[in-house]
């Protein structure tokens, strides 16, 4: 290549001069390499040719569009372009595969070299590219290309197309071998696949990427092969290894495919590939996964559940059945746990265990049972479902279901039936009693409440459907704790009320807050009363409670207050009415209790302190005057009904403070029976409590609570309807029902029947009127 540059106007000479160089640039099997000098010579020869020709336009004109000679007058390149095109075809056609290499290897080897060469070639023909090609293309010639593109197109048409089938086959075979882990991932196929990308062109804008070759000639075949491979593999693998192993396998497979795709494929394929994999590996096998789900829950295989979840999550619609299964499972577990508790209770009772003790334990055991199920699956939702809101909701639904409606809460109702909250669930009451157990001072030795907490109470509270029922029961028990002074801590009490308020509403806890306010006011009142009082021989611990907030029904039975207490009572009433004119005091004698000093101890010992209720006190006080009274006489003195008198006197006899004659409980209530106070009382304890033996009417209390709840609901519904109708004036029946249900939601779940009864009543009271058959109007 040391010869002189050819004459610039001689095409043939020029071409002969550059051809050997072109061969080297594109790559030949010879050992010779491109030298900078040669490169420069070739470039210059082509440059000279183009320049010279352009300066002296010739009549033979140019290749292509030469109809208008003036346009081509100064730009020449057509002949040499044709020469080059012809040369490229010949060059590619003479490439040969070595005997020891596969077609793929040959293709990739040549392709890599060729693309580098094409780049150089493009530079060598730079002048032609910049002037002649550009001019031709801007004149609308779409079949003239820059030299790089020309190289690639020629490759496409004379190497790629004729060999596409074998190329594709070898690529796919390589991929399959990789999938079977017979060979490592290698870069060869990556180059081969990328050539599909490079060979796509947008005829109108050569710089724009065009994936048509990649998509039609490669991607589709790749996806088909993938689908086929995994369809077969997954069927077989599942058959032999089962779901759990299969899911692990899928995990690995998906990771492998992902890293393969990153290396050999382009971004475009990721979505369709994921679809194919999801279909072959997941969607086709969801049913067996669903079937396995309950087993995994049974065996608490959180990791496998997580795996199943993350697989199904790749195809969101497949999660829906899992949600349903999960909800049903949690519900069933909840019901099962409660049923077991019920059975063990029943067994314990039939074994003769003191049923009273079990009754007292029930709230705690029951709430604990409910909680355990909730906590177990709350953890599953957290660990396996990543707190996915859909699963949180399913868990909530299931919990609301089994917590409100189970064999203990609704003994009469078949739990397999549809979920309707007909009748009243016992859960609110049991939860209130759980709270009472937690918050009430316990017997000294007991640490039964060590594992109970306000948080547990709140966890169940949020699932309670009848929040109003809980409030009523809780408030009744709170009232007893407050006036009996057996709270564990006031802060704890108030913090629970604070939580209830936050969770529900300010209104929800109004009554309870008022009760605390009454307690504080009563305390101040007591100090004030003490100051006012002239004599202080009585230690009066009085509570003044507002009737609306406290659940104590008026005391209506006959009773005569002993003279000893009458003075204090009257004095208090007088002073109180001076302080607050217009307020009326009603005395709840049935809630009063007191301590009495009894000088019945052996001489030299301190007196006994007897804790008694007010009625017992009124029975005992007369014994200061005489030693013996008949039942009839006590009845006259106290004015208590015989039944009431008998129930109060029984513990006094039982614990041997009074001696009954004749003996026997059947005689206690007979009017002639005599009671004599002992001369010397025998007890190891200095303080004796006689109140515990008095029978309390608990059933009555429960009915009261139930009645209160129902009355409140009735008036709530009526008020709610009036409020809605006042705002809307006219409303359709169904819309009204919906609004009422919505507004009641935070308190209870009203039935349509209850709402309709309230509507009937309001029509009757002429608050509402029917219009058009299914609407109501508000009558102001």
């Amino acid at each position: 290549m040391a010869e002189k540059l050819p004459k610039s106007d001689d095409l043939k000479a020029t071409w002969s001069f550059v051809e050997p160089g072109l061969q080297l640039i594109l790559g030949s099997d010879s050992v010779a390499t491109v030298t900078p000098k040669m490169y420069m010579n070739v470039y210059t020869a082509i440059y000279n040719y183009c320049i010279n020709k352009s300066r002296t336009p010739t009549q033979d004109s140019s290749y292509g569009s030469g109809s208008n000679s003036t346009t081509n007058a100064s730009l020449v390149g057509g002949e040499i372009y044709l020469k080059l095109q012809q040369y490229l075809i010949e060059y590619i056609q003479q490439l040969e595969k070595k005997p020891e290499e596969s077609f793929l290897q040959f293709y990739v080897r040549r392709w890599v070299r060729f693309t580098i060469g094409a780049g150089y070639l493009n530079n060598v023909f730079d002048y032609m590219n910049r002037y002649w090609v550009k001019k031709e293309r801007s004149n609308g010639r779409r079949d003239i290309y820059d030299v790089n593109t020309l190289c690639l197109l020629t490759w496409r048409d004379f190497m790629f197309r004729p060999n596409l089938e074998i190329l594709l086959e070898e690529i796919l075979t390589q991929v399959e071998l990789q999938r079977l882990h017979k060979i490592e991932l290698n870069m060869e196929i990556s180059f081969a696949i990328k050539s599909f990308v490079s060979l796509g062109f947008d005829i109108n804008d050569l710089k724009k990427q065009n994936l048509s070759v990649y998509i039609t000639d490669f991607e589709k075949a790749y996806l088909d092969a993938t689908l086929k491979f995994y369809t077969e593999e997954s069927d077989e693998f599942l058959e032999t290894n089962g779901v759990v192993e299969y899911m692990k396998k899928v995990d690995t497979r998906l990771a492998e495919e992902n890293s393969r795709a990153n290396i050999i494929l382009i971004e475009h394929t990721k979505r369709p590939l994921a679809d194919v994999l999801n279909n072959a590996l997941i969607e086709r096998h969801v049913e067996v996964m669903y079937e396995e789900f309950n087993n995994l829950l049974d065996q608490k295989q959180t990791e496998d559940i997580y795996r199943m979840y993350s697989l199904l999550q790749r195809v969101p619609p497949t999660l829906e059945p899992l949600l349903i299964k999960f909800e049903a499972y949690v519900k069933q577990q909840g019901l099962k746990a409660v049923a077991e508790l019920k059975q063990s209770q029943a067994a314990a009772e039939s074994m003769g265990a003191a049923s009273k003790k079990y009754q007292a334990l029930l709230p705690k055991l029951y709430i604990k049972t409910l909680l355990q199920v909730y906590e177990r699956f709350n953890e599953v939702v957290y660990m396996a479902f990543g707190n996915n809101p859909l699963f949180v909701k399913s868990l909530d639904n299931a919990c609301r279901d089994y917590i409100n409606n189970n064999s203990i809460a609704m003994p009469g109702i078949d739990n397999n039936g549809p979920t309707v909250f007909k009748g009243n669930s016992k859960t609110p009451e049991l939860l209130a009693r759980y709270g009472d157990t937690l918050l009430k001072k316990k017997a000294k030795d007991s640490d039964a409440t060590a594992d109970m907490s306000a948080d547990e109470l709140m966890n169940i509270f949020k699932f309670i459907a009848d929040k109003d029922a809980f409030e009523t029961h809780y408030r009744r028990l709170l009232a007893r704790r407050l006036i009996n002074g057996n709270m564990v801590s006031e802060e704890e009490e108030e913090s629970i009320i604070q939580k209830l308020k936050e969770f529900n509403s300010l209104e929800y806890t109004t009554k309870m807050s008022n009760m605390f306010a009454d307690m504080k006011a009563s305390k101040d009142l007591r100090y004030w009363f003490k100051e006012q009082e002239e004599s202080d021989n009585t230690d009066l611990n009085i509570f003044v409670l507002s009737q609306t907030a406290w659940p104590f029904p008026q005391f209506k039975q006959p009773f005569t207050l002993p003279d000893e207490l009458l003075g204090t009572k009257e004095q208090f009433e007088k002073l109180y009415s001076e302080k607050h004119s217009g307020r009326r005091l009603k005395w709840l004698w049935n809630l009063c209790r007191g301590e009495m000093k009894a000088n019945l101890a052996r001489p030299g010992k301190p007196p006994f302190i007897l804790t008694v209720n007010l009625f017992q006190m009124s029975i005992l006080l007369p014994f200061n005057k005489r030693e013996t009274y008949s039942f009839e006489e006590l009845h006259e003195i106290t004015n208590l009904t015989p039944e009431h008198l008998e129930s109060c006197i029984t513990p006094l006899v039982k614990y041997k403070l009074l001696i009954q004659s004749p003996e026997g409980s059947e005689n206690t209530g007979k009017s002639s029976t005599k009671f004599t106070v002992v001369k010397e009382y025998k007890s190891k304890k200095m303080k004796v409590n006689f109140m515990q033996g008095v029978k309390l009417d608990q059933k009555h209390d429960h009915d009261d609570a139930q009645k209160e709840i129902e009355d409140d609901r009735r008036s709530f519904l009526q008020a709610c309807i009036v409020r809605i109708m006042k705002a809307r004036k006219v409303l359709k029946h169904s819309a009204l029902i919906n609004e009422v249900v919505q507004q009641s939601h935070a308190r209870f779940q009203p039935s349509v029947g209850d709402i309709k009864k309230a509507i009937d009543l309001l029509i009757e009271k002429e608050y509402l009127n029917r219009v058009d058959g299914d609407s109501y109007e508000y009558l102001a």
Partner: protein
């Protein structure tokens, strides 16, 4: 408006109505000189007036009043119990006939066995009726309507509730209600359906009947009468009073057992 066209309108109005100029002008002014409107309003009003005032001749009205006097209670201005019984008898109907309720509705009676003079005279007069014979024809007409005109039956039925109440009562004793349900509705809605309803009230219902319940029962019966599977497809969530829910539940329990 130009005097000439005014005059023209007045003339046209007079052609139709036969009124004096001043009266014609007044009508036309009232209807903003729209001839058609004015004529129509005039004709409507005058025809109404003549109906109201000229239905009975003086002579006829006299006999209507003496008819009232014949039955009216001594010293009072209304027909009392005895007079009513006699009146019904003279009309050749039984006192227990449901048509008596239609008559009571027609004569705007407020209470069982009481027909006030003004209501009696005005209502018969409006109908152009003055003799006992014509009255019987009218009552026969009521009787036919009770049998085949649901709107008419409903009017009489709704009237009956208020008619049966004592002064300060708001609800009807269930026994009374049952008695009148049978009397009024059995024929129209069928013996079987009514007796099912009445049996339900007798056996299961413990309250007095409200106006709403009374009125809604008619619609309930009407739908039951029209739809074959009304009870099967009854929707408790619809706007029926809850009493109907209870009844349907009762019926369904009865059929399933």
């Amino acid at each position: 408006m130009a005097p000439r066209s005014v005059q023209k309108l007045v003339e046209s109005f007079k052609e139709v109505t036969d009124l004096r100029d001043s009266e014609a002008t007044a009508w036309l002014t009232k209807y903003k000189w729209n001839l058609e409107d004015a004529v129509e309003a005039y004709l409507t009003q005058t025809s109404m007036n003549s109906q109201g005032q000229n239905f009975l001749t003086q002579e006829q009205k006299g006999s209507l009043i003496s008819l009232f006097n014949k039955y009216k209670q001594d010293g009072e201005d209304y027909i009392g119990i005895d007079g009513t019984i006699q009146y019904i008898e003279d009309l050749e109907f039984e006192v227990e006939d449901p048509v008596v309720l239609a008559l009571a509705e027609f004569l705007e009676s407020t209470q069982m066995g009481v027909f006030e003079r003004a209501k009696f005279v005005n209502n018969w007069e409006k109908a152009g009726i003055s003799s006992i014979h014509e009255m019987r024809q009218k009552v026969l007409e009521f009787q036919r309507s009770l049998e085949n005109d649901e709107q008419f039956l409903k009017k009489v039925y709704d009237f009956t509730f208020k008619f049966l109440l004592d002064n300060n009562q708001r609800t009807l004793l269930k026994d009374t209600a049952v008695e009148y349900w049978k009397l009024l509705l059995s024929h129209y809605f069928g013996e079987e359906k009514m007796s099912q309803w009445c049996q339900f009230i007798n056996d299961e219902w413990q309250f007095a009947i409200t106006k709403d319940q009374w009125q809604m029962l008619f619609l309930f019966m009407s739908e039951w009468n029209q739809k074959d599977n009304f009870i099967e497809s009854y929707d408790e969530n619809a706007a029926w009073p809850s009493m109907m829910d209870t009844f349907v539940e009762y019926l369904r329990a009865k059929t399933s057992s």
